[in-house]
């Protein structure tokens, strides 16, 4: 059994000891037969990461990091691999004594590989197209009783929307994918005059718990949306075993408070094990007390990541340096980092990341020697999560100044709220949640108060990317999600180079033809590296979202009797206005096909000189459409000439 090598000490300050785990209640479970320790409150994923399992397996010839946004599904070892039994390891509470196994397409690791694979990997080979599929997406939903208002997302905006709906007299269902309400506001800190994110979340949570009209569904991820309906995959954690269920929930109104996600910088090696986003890294530490390794490096193009550095400054984790893709960024958190004496390199982007000795990462810099660290936190700024918005038919547009996709237009019965709607501050998110409900109910409300600090003091996020390099030793991904979309291969400069390219880049050359959904992250990356024109980004995002149809399949097209015409319209006028439908007398041993052309002379071949055509043969008769004057004719069928006479 691997010890929990990546767990921070219980005494770690700044709230990074893991608020959701109970260190007095150790548990252990097995996954693919491997014993894994954890604590009550862990998910299967967090327990694995705490035990140092940070690799899913191999993809494109390189190890692929395990993270919440890209983790294989699991099932109980005794259950079949049917889609309805699959569970997401990032949402599934780890249970003492449980025996799990990984659900994945592709060849399972053999006995030798299982015995001798390094302890940090699950050992999957992910080059199969659906290596990280979410099997429950193919399950039809169980229809449940409708509610008045569905709020998707249990962050501060969603919680505020749920309360506003309940105060307006609506029955509300608040749906949150993770095990807890609260969302992702923790990393972003506090502005002047505000309570802390933790205090704010605690107050809202308490109020929701005391409000009878609000039903809270945690561990429930919405993955499809239609007019007045959402489809979710929900975990029932009440029994001895965690069970998944796909539910269709109708509602009059829907608020999407799906938050913002952190973009993956587009660099070679950007999904190697040991790499995490700033938000992921913060939440693993805050919720579960997890921080792998002892040394780390931060490469960012957004300010909140600097706050992570300040929170960890007194934890004993050695931060080598901070690289910032922006030349002259300003932020109060940047100043705090300076006060801690952390080395900062503005205008610097890693050129690539490679696996180093001893499981460390080797980070290539534009100047100087590569830096070797245990962990790299990569932050490419934040993007509103518009996936469900696009699924619902919503539109979006690329904002060149803010370098992100932003929603435009309206969808009937649906409102966006919080950072999904493009708001920046916690206050903006809370007020937008209330405003969204006001708008759905046709009330003017008080609008949104989003006190964004001036760009002079808080420099906006930017995307981070580097030019494609044929010399890169690790693949470049466009997003951190489970589609595993690789940066499309550039046209080969020389054939000999092409032969030896190996698997550095994917086989897709044109993003629009990629046989995968394009996540919003991949589209943002595509704009950043010039694969998608900014003007087309919104359309591409809307078209390339992975839609799950909520309607059931209907029967195929079966033409009604009246569809059938004796002379189909496409033959009208072909043989003159006086053409007649008649029968042909011919050698009955020959069956004549529909469409066989009829000529007046044996040497005629040009279809434009045909005087008729066989309509159909049935009951030993051949029905034809022929010019009124035709009598003795030749029918041409499959290269043969069959004499016939027209019945008068």
């Amino acid at each position: 059994m691997r010890p929990q090598t990546n767990r921070l000490p219980a005494t770690t300050g700044k709230g990074l000891a893991g608020v959701h785990i109970d260190r007095t209640r150790p548990i252990r479970f097995t996954i693919n037969g491997r014993v894994t320790p954890g604590f009550a409150g862990d998910t299967v994923l967090s327990a694995l990461l705490a035990a140092g399992v940070d690799t899913i397996g191999s993809h494109a010839g390189r190890p692929l990091g395990l993270r919440a946004s890209a983790a294989p599904a699991i099932t109980y070892a005794a259950q079949s691999v049917a889609p309805e039994h699959a569970l997401p390891m990032e949402r599934t509470p780890a249970r003492d004594g449980a025996e799990y196994r990984v659900v994945a397409e592709g060849p399972p690791p053999g006995l030798f590989a299982r015995l001798f694979q390094p302890g940090r990997t699950l050992g999957l080979r992910l080059d199969a197209a659906k290596g990280l599929a979410r099997p429950w997406r193919s399950v039809h939903g169980h229809l449940v009783e409708a509610t008045d208002l569905i709020v998707v997302g249990g962050g501060v905006a969603g919680m505020a929307a749920a309360l506003a709906g309940a105060h307006a007299g609506l029955a509300v269902t608040l749906i949150e994918a993770s095990p807890h309400l609260g969302g992702h506001s923790g990393l972003f800190g506090t502005q002047d005059g505000e309570s802390t994110p933790e205090e704010n979340v605690a107050t809202l949570s308490a109020e929701i718990a005391a409000t009878e009209a609000i039903t809270v569904l945690t561990h429930a991820e919405v993955f499809a949306i239609g007019e007045g309906m959402v489809r979710m995959h929900r975990l029932d954690i009440g029994g001895e075993r965690v069970e998944g269920q796909v539910i269709d929930l109708p509602a009059r109104h829907i608020v999407l408070a799906t938050g913002a996600f952190e973009r993956l910088p587009v660099l070679p090696g950007n999904r190697l094990p040991g790499i995490a986003g700033a938000q992921d890294a913060f939440e693993l530490a805050y919720r579960y007390g997890i921080w792998p390794g002892q040394s780390w490096l931060l490469a960012t193009s957004g300010n909140p990541a600097y706050r992570l550095a300040t929170l960890l400054a007194e934890s004993g984790m050695a931060l080598d340096r901070i690289l910032d893709g922006r030349d002259h960024a300003s932020s109060r958190y940047i100043e705090f980092c300076k006060a801690y004496g952390i080395r900062q390199f503005p205008g610097t982007v890693p050129l690539g990341i490679a696996p180093g000795a001893g499981g460390r990462l080797l980070i290539e810099l534009p100047h100087g020697e590569p830096v070797s660290v245990d962990r790299l936190v990569l932050c490419g700024g934040w993007q509103p999560d518009l996936t469900l918005w696009h699924l619902a038919g919503g539109e979006s547009r690329w904002n060149t100044r803010r370098q992100r996709l932003e929603p435009i237009g309206e969808v009937s019965g649906l409102m966006l709220a919080g950072s999904a709607a493009g708001h920046f501050t916690r206050r903006g998110c809370v007020t937008s949640g209330i405003h969204a409900v006001d708008r759905l109910l046709g009330r003017a409300g008080h609008g949104v108060d989003d006190p964004v600090i001036d760009a002079i003091y808080e420099t906006p996020d930017r995307q981070m990317h580097v030019a494609d390099s044929e010399d890169a030793t690790a693949p470049t991904y466009l997003d951190a999600d489970n589609t595993l979309m690789l940066r499309p291969a550039p046209p080969p400069r020389r054939r000999s180079w092409h032969i030896f390219r190996g698997a550095q880049t994917g086989p897709v050359r044109v993003l629009s033809e990629a046989p995968q959904p394009l996540s919003i992250g991949a589209i943002c990356a595509g704009v950043g590296i010039g694969l998608i024109p900014p003007d087309s980004a919104g359309i591409v995002a809307q078209e390339r979202v992975a839609l799950v149809p909520l309607a059931r399949a209907k029967s195929s097209h079966a033409p009604a009797a009246q569809d059938f015409a004796t002379v189909p319209p496409y033959l009208a006028g072909r043989f003159g206005t006086d053409a007649v439908v008649t029968t042909l007398r011919h050698d009955l041993s020959r069956h004549l096909d529909s469409g066989a052309l009829i000529f007046e002379g044996e040497d005629m071949l040009d279809p434009r000189r045909a005087v008729g055509v066989v309509l159909r043969s049935h009951d030993g008769k051949t029905e034809a459409l022929v010019a009124a004057s035709a009598r003795k004719v030749i029918v041409r069928d499959l290269g043969q000439s069959i004499p016939a006479e027209v019945d008068i």
Partner: protein, 358 residues
């Protein structure tokens, strides 16, 4: 502000629009501008450009047969050898009306020198009639479209955003940009979106109907019996991508089409949709192309040509330039948008679906 004069403003982003514009400029020395987004290739395909279609009129087959070799050479010259893919598409039918239509199409294709094979039920499904057409050509959009833009630029054909152009009396178009006003003596509306946007409702031809269409991109590990397959009963076309996955296009709203596709591909197991778009398209009520002037004072249109439109581009350009042969002119005149008469039917096979008047 200066004012310059053009002969034609071609509205559209499709291969057909670009080819007609380029041919008018290069072969007929007309001054031409394009109006439309140049980035159609980033979107899911709405149409397919292919050298065969379920055509049932001999004069259309004759024209296509005559035009295709030159057109294939031109496409290859513009976009290189990868711009044109050779394919053996399959056309198939389940029900009697569609089977009969397939028979008419097959005899016409064979009469024009095409080689057809019957596809065995083991490959296509029992109770189904299917024919494979040997050696058709299809335009490979990701390769061809960028090359087409380069070609048009070399011909000094500027491209303007749709918002800059308006229709003017007499079928003309005015393009206003910063510091410049361009007047085109005749507007040619090619893509459906251009017709929707630019054609005044009072000039709308009666036979031109709106139809809901959808495109769905799916991820699938299974190969189709052919890279391109069309079901005549429903109008669903399946296009397998080289990189994997499959695009399906056909009539119906997104929900209806998705259901129809699920039924058609039920044997393939669960389909994972990785992209989808619903849109309106135009379909002439008799299935035949609608070409040329919509009214004495209206713009020119090109619609209802189906997959073969791009392969007829030289014919259409010659007709617009007044340099068509007598056969070409006769074919085009018979399909004029302002002279469609029931007594001179040029109807073609039409996929059965509910349409509505525009």
């Amino acid at each position: 502000m200066s004012e310059a004069q053009l002969d034609f403003a071609v509205f559209g982003s499709s291969a057909l629009a670009g080819l007609v514009a380029g041919l008018l400029a290069s072969q007929h020395q007309r001054k031409v501008a394009m109006v439309g987004e140049a980035q159609a290739r980033y979107r899911l395909p709405r149409t397919l450009d292919m050298s065969v279609a379920p055509i049932t009129r001999p004069e259309t087959w004759a024209l296509l047969k005559a035009s295709q070799p030159d057109m294939s050479r031109l496409i290859a010259r513009i976009g290189g050898r990868h711009a044109l893919r050779r394919v053996d598409p399959i056309f198939f039918a389940d029900e009697r009306p569609a089977r009969e239509a397939l028979g008419h199409f097959a005899h016409m294709a064979r009469a024009h020198g095409m080689i057809l094979e019957t596809v065995p039920p083991a490959k296509i499904g029992t109770g189904r009639t299917a024919l494979r057409i040997n050696d058709a050509a299809t335009i490979h959009r990701p390769v061809f479209e960028p090359a087409l833009e380069t070609w048009l630029a070399k011909l000094d054909i500027p491209r303007f955003a749709p918002e800059t152009a308006t229709m003017a009396p007499g079928g003309a178009a005015v393009i206003k940009t910063e510091g410049e006003v361009l007047t085109a003596r005749r507007a040619i509306l090619v893509d459906d979106s251009a017709i929707f946007r630019g054609l005044p409702s009072r000039q709308w031809p009666a036979p031109l109907l709106r139809r809901q269409h959808a495109t769905i991109l799916t991820a699938s590990n299974r190969h189709l019996a052919s890279p391109i397959m069309t079901q005549l009963d429903s109008g669903i076309t399946l296009v397998e991508h080289e990189e994997g996955g499959m695009a399906a296009m056909g009539p119906g709203s997104l929900g209806v089409f998705s259901s129809a596709l699920a039924v058609l591909l039920a044997d393939a197991g669960q389909l994972q949709q990785v992209g989808q778009v619903g849109y309106e398209t135009l379909i002439p009520s008799d299935g035949a192309p609608l070409l040329g002037p919509v009214a004495s004072d209206g713009p020119l249109i090109l619609t209802g040509l189906g997959p073969i439109g791009a392969f007829l581009a030289p014919v259409l350009a010659r007709w617009f330039a007044g340099e068509a042969s007598s056969d070409e002119a006769e074919w085009c005149e018979a399909r004029r948008a302002d002279r469609r008469a029931p007594e001179h039917s040029v109807a073609e096979f039409n996929f059965p679906i509910e349409e509505r008047a525009a």
